[in-house]
Amino acid sequence: MAVDTRHKRHSIGQYISLAILSLVALFIIAPYIWMLMSSFKSTQEIVQNPGVILPINWTLAGYRNVLTNSPFFRWFLNSAIVATSITVLVVFTSTLAGFVFAKFEFKGKEALFWLILATMMVPYQITMIPIFLIVGELNLYDTLWALILPGAVSAFGFYLCRQFCEEIPDSLSEAALIDGAGPMRVYWSIIMPLLKPCIAALAIFTFLEAWNEYLKPLIMLSQVDRMTLPLSLVFFGNAHIHDIGSVMSAASLIMIPAVIVLLIFQKQFIKGISITGTK
């Protein structure tokens, strides 16, 4: 609906829309501002002057407490390892399975496709108990593998990639196969490049979900130095329940980098989300 408006005066309606959106935007940002400002306050100040937003006495004590009295960098590294591994694995397994299911015929394909698709309908609450027990059988409790291995496949990713692969004309892959290229080669040099928008969207979704996941680490991990960030924040919060300033510093350290990443990659984020919604 974008109209060229350079020569047009903005109507009153435009300014009303802008005012409403700005109010909602303020509501969205306010908790972030409160968190960030509180992270520079002492707990005493937070409790005694609840109505004052800006710190009266700026302090870095909270940040110092987080960074020196907790393995914060270990937690950050754990999260990075888990989220990156899951993203790479999901992109690989989903594109490959999607390609095979879209371009090859084999026995039981339809049944297998629906079986995998049906798993999307099932809430994690049903599968988490058996997955917990399977991970136990594999002796993986309290390791990052307990999160990476079950996270390596995604029914949603499989479905998304198959949809995109179906849209690639058969003539492209068939021509290459006739020219003597192996299926793996077709996958790597023909299918993968054409799947780029799909991969970008899938990667963003998968990474965000893995980075923010809380329930899975909660049931799989108990040792402090194995925790990922969301779980560790709750752990830290419980351990410093009377030190709100420190807890807000920890929360800021987790949330602010994500905001910066979002601002840098905003175009990719928006495009990726839009793709999945219209598919």
Binding site: M1, P50, I129, M184, Y214, I219, F269, T278
Partner: protein, 285 residues
């Protein structure tokens, strides 16, 4: 080629297909991982559900939460998306989309912890604002039975609007402008344009968003664990997901927890089928 697919299918089987089967089977057992003997009990777990008051409370709270939050979310995000899409300034359109998406990139559990402080009775900014502006006495948001779920609802709206705003505005941008030009010539106002063009033409997107939002809200967990500490006062903040977690991993009663999980699944399934019937879209443009 198919050799590469084999380990992938093995992963799909081990971590997607097998656990579903196992989840159903476990609901017929009195399963405790700390015991060596776990008896087959038939439908006893489900029979137990029917006279478990906490289960019914959790069921009611879940339905209350989902059926209040999702419609509010859809209505608000539709309005916001429409307002954004109709802005003349393209830079502002992009900035608002990113801004409303901000809470979605934070871990739900981290934002819940921040909101827990905002809701605090003594020093929470919500209470001090209400006191300063309207002279309202401090309210115990998370400690009052009737206020726990509404507080979680407000938080969840804040945390989860971003996705839908972006998907709806992408859908709106995809509607050919001819429709609007024709409507303008016919003299249709903005509200009539919204109901007669935007909403019907969003069709597929609309149906997709509703289904995804319902399914995800049925499964929300983190904010209930953080905001409604230990299920809230008198279990007023206990939802099915929290009850399943507590039963399986704190009380180690995994058979019974599986039975509760299956009722959650049935709830989602029935709901999805009904929703697909109601929102059937069999045309495009």
């Amino acid at each position: 080629m198919f050799f590469v697919l084999l380990p992938i299918l093995l992963l799909y089987f081990t971590f997607l297909v097998l656990p579903i089967g196992a989840g159903f089977v476990m609901s017929f057992f009195d399963y405790n991982p700390l015991r060596t003997n776990n008896d087959f009990v038939g439908l006893a777990n489900f029979a137990r559900l029917t006279n478990d008051p906490v289960f019914f409370k959790a069921l009611r709270n879940t339905l209350y939460f989902v059926f209040a939050t999702v419609p509010l979310n859809i209505i608000i995000t539709l309005i916001i998306a429409q307002l954004i899409s109709s802005l003349d300034w393209s830079k502002l359109r992009a900035s608002f989309r990113v801004l409303f998406f901000m809470p979605c990139i934070a871990p739900l559990v981290a934002s819940s912890m921040v909101w827990k402080q905002l809701y605090n009775v003594r020093y929470g900014i919500i209470n001090s604002m209400l006191e300063g502006l309207f002279n309202i006495q401090p309210i115990n948001w998370l400690g009052t039975q009737s206020l726990v779920i509404p507080s979680v609802i407000l938080f969840t709206l804040w945390a989860d609007m971003g996705y839908n705003v972006i998907i709806f505005s992408a859908g709106m941008d995809g509607i050919p402008s001819d429709f609007y030009e024709a409507a303008n010539i016919d003299g249709a106002g903005p509200i009539s344009r919204f109901f007669n063009i935007t909403l019907p033409l969003l069709g597929r997107t609309f149906s997709f968003v509703i289904a995804m939002t319902f399914i995800s809200h049925f499964q929300m967990f983190a904010q209930f664990q953080v905001l409604a500490t230990k299920g809230g006062p008198n279990n007023a903040g206990t939802v099915l997901t929290y009850l399943i977690y507590k039963t399986a991993f704190q009380n180690k009663n995994m058979g019974y927890a599986s039975a509760i999980a299956i009722t959650l699944f049935l709830l989602i399934m029935i709901f999805t089928i009904v929703q697909q019937r109601v929102n059937r879209v069999d045309w495009g443009y």
